[in-house]
Amino acid sequence: MKTKPRLCVFLSLVFLTGTPLCAPASDVDNVKEFRARVEEYAMLHRSVEGKLPALPQQATPDQIAAHQQGLAEALRTARSKAKRGDVFSKAQDYFRRAIAAELKGKAGLTARQTIQEGNPTNEASGGPMILSVNAGYPPEASLSAMPPPLLLRLPPLPDELNYRFVGRHLILHDTHANMIVDFILNVAP
């Protein structure tokens, strides 16, 4: 008799707080570390971009191209030793589970369709994409749509970065430099 009320309270708390029943306690720490590394990247980005001529809000195409190229080159130099996992770090499992929760099964059908929209592996625009840290995102490649519920679930990013899918892989895309900052392979079901 006493077990039932305790179970009800426990389940209610789980439901109200949104805490997944089977989430490892380390998720909080791993996501915290991910956010710290994202912030570190954002600071580096801003520091590097601050040394370039400012891009006006009413820029010409030449100014846009020069700024993007200069920023990408400077970032590659600044993080020349960067490798896969440097930003996602131990949060990769968290991302896999969070994305699986949104995309799997019947309930996830619409989300799976969404990430196929504009996914460069589905668009006939140039050759296959090669994922590599610091590599440029091909200018002729389209950008995958991101399911809004998934964006609301994942840790927020600063303006300089977006989550995108390339095939089933999740990338961190620097939108100013048009560059791949980090990626996790085979994360979408």
Binding site: P56, Q57, A59, I64, N178
Partner: protein, 301 residues
């Protein structure tokens, strides 16, 4: 006794020829009222191919502007396909629309899935460095451009705040991915619809323009809101409109653009093909400010 054409009175022949040409002639007529002090604008989507059809549509726009002097153009994304080099800007935007820009027409762009986010800094897209923005060209009329590629919490928070403070004026949205579409290749973006439609309904949005599907479709009003798919300003996917209950009017055989006029509580629209033929037209009536009708939504006349 039958008379040959050359035996008929000349005025009768002229009249016959005139009557025979009348439907074609009427289809190239302006059906917008061109009222004084109205707001006039154009809409185009998925334009940036740099190909012949984009240039054809651009020429039509310039021609129609001589009889309907629209002030600005809304761009529904995929403004530049295949990259964002200076050459791309030149070939896929500056050259085809030069006559319009030279005449002082402004372009207000939104971002598509083929667009580099840095387009928001391009002076002629008037995005002022923002992925999403709003502007008010005339009192009582507000436009909102969204980045439908990346509907994150920051954009949603901004959107809610803007809608809350915008009052009872015309609220017109434009962004790339359609919430409603009968497209076989893409179709309705249901995930985006789930987050945006409740806000649109709550705050009395009247009209939404989107591209992404490469044809023209006027959607039957959904919860009182009018949706247009206008994604064939340069691109085209022939035969891509599926038969659904959504379509009020559809056209997927050629490129097109739209011209619109807002006068008071009425929005007139006319959709024109690459060859100058009218594909669709009508007027959307916005409910009066003091209407207490619970279904206080726009209606098509």
């Amino acid at each position: 006794m039958r008379k040959r054409l050359d035996e008929m009175p000349r005025c009768f022949v002229v009249l016959l020829l005139f009557l025979a040409s009348l439907p074609c002639f009427a289809q190239k007529q302006l059906s917008l009222p061109n009222k004084p002090d109205s707001l006039r604008f154009a809409v185009m989507g998925d334009t940036g191919t740099g190909g012949k059809t984009q240039y054809d549509v651009a020429r039509q726009m310039a021609q129609w502007r001589t009889k309907f002097p629209f002030e600005f153009v809304l761009m529904l994304g995929d403004n530049l396909y295949g990259g964002g080099s200076p050459r791309d800007y030149e070939q896929k935007f500056e050259t085809p629309y030069k006559p319009l820009m030279d005449a002082g027409v402004k372009f207000y762009a939104s971002l598509g899935n083929h667009d580099d986010a840095n387009q928001r800094f391009y002076k002629n897209f008037n995005m002022n460095g923002e992925r999403y923005y709003t502007f008010r060209p005339k009192p009582g009329i507000r436009f909102f451009a969204l980045d439908s590629n990346y509907m994150d919490r920051a954009q949603l928070a901004w959107l809610q705040e803007q809608l809350r403070s915008s009052g009872s004026e015309w609220k017109i949205f434009y962004f790339h991915h359609p919430l409603y579409s009968s497209g076989g290749r893409h179709g309705s973006d249901e995930q985006l619809r789930a987050v945006l439609e409740p806000l649109f309904v709550e705050f009395g949005v009247s009209v939404v323009f989107s591209g992404h599907d490469h044809f023209y479709e006027r959607i039957k009003p959904q919860k009182g809101i009018y949706y247009f798919v206008s994604g064939a300003g340069g691109q085209l996917r022939r035969g891509n409109i599926r038969t659904t209950d959504l379509t009020a009017k559809g056209f997927d055989q050629d490129n097109h653009f739209m011209i619109l006029e807002i006068a008071g509580d009425e929005m007139y629209f006319q959709t024109i093909s690459r060859t100058g033929t009218t594909l669709d037209s009508g007027v959307i009536q916005r409910p009066k400010e003091d209407s207490k009708d619970v279904s206080n939504k726009a209606t098509l006349k």
